[in-house]
Symmetry: C2
Subunit: 203 residues, 2 copies
């Protein structure tokens, strides 16, 4: 297998997940800032033009971070990062989708439509007039998530999962683009700090 | 198991998926129009306040349509609706997330922020000034998907999957809220008609 990799929070999620799984995969760097991911060679790998993309042993390509991480976990015999039982896997996927749709999408689109405007204006249909509200929504849902984390060590109770890794990588990304972690969200601050201390965080 | 069910495209996805699996589950109707899903009793089942929600045999609750369908499929011995092999499952999840983020999210938010404004104004943070662009994005990505469907019977080649079911249910929903299927997208029109002829479509 081969991982087409780049800067950005999405590839970071997969690298951190790989590090937590304890496996290494050959990496090929794609120049995201230069727009190499939107050119024909990468579009043949991933027609969405996004990063990262995993090349499987049979030469086919797998995109979308959740699909990639779940596949790698299954190839590794089903670990607690996604879930050892069907019920654990279901719980992880539920929280992954909540964080994906309610927090990551508004946070990243809020960035793309404002600070990221120049980088994305020739790549995506942008909605600059929605940027401020999207950033507010991300913060409102983070506050909601903070309440949901009460009494739990990780998003899925006592298991470190893909949900935590996605949250962590995008919280870090937010911090670099003007959407810092609200220190009033004590449970999120604590979860972030827990993940920040993992060796895998710097993967 | 017990499915907390309501009107709307999300519950429709799960009902159609159940019908394709050929299994029946007890259903409990929740009054979505009356906002019962945003009240305490349902929030205890699903703190996101969304429909549907599956109650498992152990009394725990599972939300998010993708997590619910993948769990039901796994309980049913892994069918081609999600995938019989790890590679098939990965392909399905990749396309499900593309359709979810690139088409369903802008289509439904486009609705919520305009025609759906009055219904959602006390439930969600709305961005009315983004509605037109969101609807345009949904159409642009449907056009892109139409190209991706060229030469394929279903989104994942010759397999009917959750990706088709989600696309179908939300295309239908779009039609009822002023976002009809663009007849120029021949492959999407053909796929929609294929699913429309299934008995499960009316589930």
């Amino acid at each position: 297998m081969k991982l087409y990799d780049s800067i950005g929070p999405n590839p970071h999620v997969v690298r951190m997940f790989l590090a937590e799984l304890g496996i290494e995969i050959e990496k090929v760097e794609v120049d995201l800032m230069g727009g190499e991911n939107r050119q024909e060679q990468h579009l043949n790998r991933n027609p969405s033009g996004q990063m990262p993309t995993l090349e499987l042993d049979d030469g086919s390509f797998l995109a979308e971070i959740t699909a990639i991480c779940e596949y790698l976990d299954e190839m590794n015999g089903h670990t607690s990062l996604i879930g050892k039982t069907a019920e654990e896997r279901a719980e992880t996927k539920m929280w992954v989708r909540r964080i994906d749709l309610q927090i990551i999408e508004p946070l990243t689109n809020g960035f793309r439509y404002s600070e990221g405007y120049d980088l994305f204006k020739d790549r995506l249909h942008l909605i600059p007039q929605a940027a401020d509200d999207l950033k507010e929504i991300a913060q409102e849902r983070l506050q909601w998530l903070d309440g949901q984390l009460e009494g739990k060590e990780y998003v899925c109770g006592d298991r470190l999962t893909l949900a935590d890794i996605m949250l962590y990588c995008f919280l870090n990304f937010g911090t670099t683009v003007g959407q810092p972690i609200d220190q009033k969200n004590k449970n999120i601050v604590s979860l972030h700090s827990k993940l920040d201390s993992l060796d895998s965080a710097s993967a």
